[in-house]
Symmetry: C2
Subunit: 254 residues, 2 copies
């Protein structure tokens, strides 16, 4: 399939590489920032463009891999009647693309992407939505060419997945961040938490998070909880979160 | 070194195996529950006891690997003058053992242990405290026989480490748990979050959590935050945590 990618951020980079690896041809990469377009286009053996006027109308498939608020903006500028046009966002409705084409879809990979790390798409769940059955079949075959975990999800379901992902990823990362900052206040290196962080995540996915919780809150060890809150009293925001999350842990066990 | 282990829970199991593997001899395993003592003693080729009267006074080293509140309790029952006696807790003071012996220590591995998973001790940080320099040297040589990450930490420092571990491990696991329960409310399987959870933790340890945060809160995407809070309005506790943690993410970025 001939594909054009609108965007050159983390999703575009990793999705583009996976699609190319699966044998698809990426013909163009667009980014407002010419440098970004050039870097990704070079990788994908595609043409870089930084002006939408140069968009080749001969691709079969256009993937808008942009930040949420940029999707509506770019949709206002694109007219691609007859072409399949998808975005990759968990939160934006498919209808936000309806001025671009009548053959629409969403191609939402549930993963966090970063420049620093390569990603194996094979196990990444991809959630699809399409404007009609014929578009869905094409999306599905594209998704199945890179992942073994392909599911249908309309906007409502995608939003549920996105909220779950915020808790599982953004909020767990914030817990690491709070620990990092707390240690650094006492000149202790973040490194000493790394084995614990990795083991905690592996334990959770090999079992169920609900079954493997440990620590003072779930043990209802009131004296430790009070001591920790006392030690955190210089940092009211941290103490507040410690209290609220401990309460939430205990509520689950009630 | 001849070692006796008081306790047969997760710490005792994993620490006992690592010490035996490093060439130390575990001579006895005590647990109030005879079955637990038997199972671990069999693994470690040691004698199982479930009555402290049977404790062999010829070991050189006694490791109390019990839950926090059981340490003081057992300390009240043990008299081992001249022997080295340590506990493995992040939160209990070394002094809680002072009626047991005058040669005391703490041997605190910063990790979460579970029955279901084997653990490689080599990279686990072990934090030591000792009643005097000669005991410290023995503790250090024991710790270094199983781990390449051995540090000194007094009670105050150990409590700081423990608080950081609560955030990095217990609280991140609770974020997974909240996501698990939220998905299950909509009949969505926890499995679809597994690649995201693993990638989030690997990304954090290969970089710094403070540098790799993503999601609507750090992007200050107010419309998504409001939509998520609206979707969570049926579940006030979840909405409350969503709000508080998002606020905390934004405060770090302020």
């Amino acid at each position: 399939m001939n594909i054009s990618i609108i965007g050159a951020g983390n999703v575009a980079v990793h999705l583009g590489a996976a699609l190319q690896h699966a044998g698809h041809r990426i013909i163009q990469v667009y980014s407002r920032t010419a440098d970004h377009a050039n870097v990704l286009a070079l990788k994908l053996n595609a043409q870089a463009i930084s002006n939408l006027i140069d968009l080749d109308k001969n691709a079969e498939f256009y993937i808008i891999a942009l930040k949420d608020d940029a999707i509506a903006e770019i949709a206002g500028l694109l007219r691609l009647p007859g072409k399949i046009v998808v975005h990759t966002s968990g939160s934006v409705s498919m209808q936000s693309l309806e001025t671009v084409s009548e053959r629409l879809g969403v191609f939402y990979p549930l993963q966090t992407f970063s420049k620093q790390r390569d990603i194996d798409f094979k196990n990444i769940p991809i959630f699809l939505e399409a404007s009609d059955e014929s578009v869905y079949e094409i999306l599905e075959s594209l998704a199945e060419s890179i992942s073994g975990q392909v599911f249908e999800a309309d906007s409502g379901r995608r939003k549920i997945l996105h909220i779950a992902a915020v808790f599982a990823s953004n909020f767990s990362n914030h817990m690491y961040h709070l620990a990092e900052d707390y240690l650094s206040k006492y000149n202790l290196p973040f490194d000493i938490l790394k084995p614990l962080i990795l083991e905690t995540s592996m334990k959770a996915v090999e079992n169920r998070p609900s079954e493997v919780q440990t620590g003072p809150a779930v043990r209802r060890d009131q004296s430790i909880l009070e001591e920790h809150l006392h030690m955190l009293s210089e940092d009211p925001d941290l103490a507040h979160l410690y209290k609220e999350i401990s309460k939430s842990i205990q509520a689950k066990k009630a």
